[in-house]
Amino acid sequence: MKNPVIVLEKIQKTYGSGESAVTAIKEANVEIYAGETVALLGPSGSGKTTLITMIGCITEPSAGVLKLSGEVVYDGTWRVNDTRKVRREQIGFIFQSHNLIPFLNVIENVTLVSQMNGVRKHEAIRKGKELLEYLGVGDKETKMPSQLSGGQSQRVAIARSLANNPSIILADEPTAALDGERALSVMELLRKLAHEQNVAVVVVTHDERMLPLFDRILRVEDGRVREEG
């Protein structure tokens, strides 16, 4: 039986205190497995981004347990010394607006995280080139982000998210800035990656047209997380 790579047990996030306290996520219980594509759906302000930032060890939960790849990362307090190290080694991020570093070229953007993890430069570049080829932007490695189209930038961002061999990819509305055709292309790519690279892909999305591409759908409403379908 497969073990889940992401486990949320009664995860809660409350902002503020006393009468002005706002609970963004209320006792969420979720398990996500490697190779799955999971959509996080919900209206604006429902808590989707809060949920994804807690999984990504960016936002500290207020209560509950968070496990990543079988390791307890949070159980009332952070159990890891360096949450950035967890992100660097286990998680890849894809943003709505690619968010490539503008002063680094494509190959530098892709290999930055792996080099920070101590991978030798030539090895990181070799792996980076392979990823770029796989994603169809192999001829763009020396270009600057400003020289890429929206779709190309997003592919480079996907390559960056994969460069550190993560077990989890968190994508926050990765297709929002793309037209229909490109959006579909990127989502299909993420699905393919999840299955081929055995990575858990969690995508925050508003786009209900993409839902058929996901293995599971989690709906977030008023801080509550429930599985659909």
Partner: protein, 378 residues
């Protein structure tokens, strides 16, 4: 590992270098200020150095002839020459005068010396030495005069027969050399009207045999200090060794200026630090999104701190280089002598590096406060 500082600078290279050059102008001014001080010390030593005196004899209780006025009777030279150990005695006059080459006023410093003697208190670069009582002068190129020019001085007209280069007084005025008699006439002779007036009042105005100082050279083996002490015991004379005269020049004449220059230098360095700090802070604020992304994808604080710190130091280094180039390019244009020492530049470099590192702290502080979650949300 990718060097983020270099990559960021390369991406906006023109803007970075332009900014650094701007700061460099400030640093260049600091170097020039230090060079002005060094120049003052250098200028103060030119005349004593050219004279190569062992002892200076001046009026009692004065710091003359440069720091204070001093007047002595010329015939004292006989008494001084008779002292044991004294090899040569040269009477000298010194006077500030305004001349008008090319119809523009130029302040010059006139030294009168006995041209018939072996003393040559200047370094000729052109022309020849003056001859006694021939209405001839040696002029420094900074005066605006050229070989062959005729200049009105006092009641006389003089021809420039020789030139020096960068020979200035302790105040930075170009030197002019005249024969002693003519210099005495220039400084001490009154107009006919005044002479008649003084005679009517009963005072003696025959002051032509006055000098401002005597320069003594001693025989080998003689201690100038002992000899100058002996002379100073005379009731109406003061004597200084060359070293003492140099100390008077540097300490008394330029000490206050040195303090002022020192204060300006410190103020300029503080201003440079504030400007570098503001520039690095602004560069950091402009990169807030990128810093948030870096933190989000897992960049440790050391990577971010190193990026900002390196940029700040590089800004300081480029500014220092630009400042040096500016100082060297403009040193000759300044009316005052500017002396640029490598040792001063090296010390300033260390100060600039330290200042740049400290100036990066405001930017680093802002960067460390950035919330990585701000990178999410487009």
């Amino acid at each position: 590992m990718i060097n983020l500082a270099y990559r960021d600078i390369a991406h906006s290279f023109g803007k970075f270098v332009t900014t650094a050059v701007g700061v460099g102008l400030l640093i260049g001014v600091v170097l020039i200020m230090i060079g002005v001080f060094r120049g003052m010390a250098h200028d103060a030593m030119i005349v004593p150095s050219d004279l190569n005196a062992d002892i200076w004899v001046v009026q009692k209780e004065t710091l003359g002839p440069f720091a204070e006025s001093s007047r002595l009777h010329e015939d004292l030279k006989y008494s001084l020459r008779s002292l044991r150990g004294v090899k040569e005695v040269y009477p000298l006059t010194f006077q500030s005068v305004q001349i008008y080459p090319n119809k523009k006023p130029v302040r010059v410093y006139v030294m009168g010396y006995d041209a018939s003697r072996s003393l040559t208190p200047y370094r000729l670069v052109e022309g020849r030495a003056i001859q006694s009582s021939q209405s001839e002068m040696i002029a420094d190129s900074k005066s605006g005069l050229k070989l062959g020019d005729n200049v009105s001085l006092g009641r006389g007209k003089y021809t420039v027969v020789g030139m020096t280069h960068k020979t200035v007084s302790s105040g930075g005025d170009p030197m002019i050399y005249l024969d002693l008699d003519e210099a005495q006439e220039l400084q001490f002779q009154f107009s006919n009207e005044q002479i008649r007036n003084d005679r009517y009042r009963g005072s003696n105005t025959a002051a032509n045999q006055t000098v401002n100082a005597f320069v003594l050279r001693v025989h080998e083996g003689i201690d100038p200090k002992k000899l100058s002490d002996e002379i100073a015991r005379w009731k109406h004379l003061q004597a200084y060794t060359n070293a003492e005269q140099e100390e008077i020049l540097t300490k008394n004449l330029i000490e206050r200026s040195a303090k002022q220059i020192g204060m300006f230098t410190v103020i300029l360095l503080i201003v440079s630090a504030v400007i570098i700090s503001l520039i690095i802070y602004t560069m950091t604020i402009n990169k807030i999104k990128e810093i948030a992304i870096l933190k989000l994808i897992g960049a440790p604080n050391t990577v971010i701190v190193k990026m900002i710190g390196q940029q700040s130091v590089l800004l300081g280094v480029i500014a220092f280089i630009a400042g040096n180039l500016f100082a060297h390019a403009s040193a000759d244009i300044f009316p005052k002598t500017i002396v640029l020492w490598y040792a001063d530049a090296a010390k300033l470099f260390v100060v600039i590096v330290i200042v740049s590192m400290l100036a990066s702290l405001t930017g680093i502080r802002s960067a460390l406060k950035v919330d990585p979650s701000t990178a999410i949300g487009g």
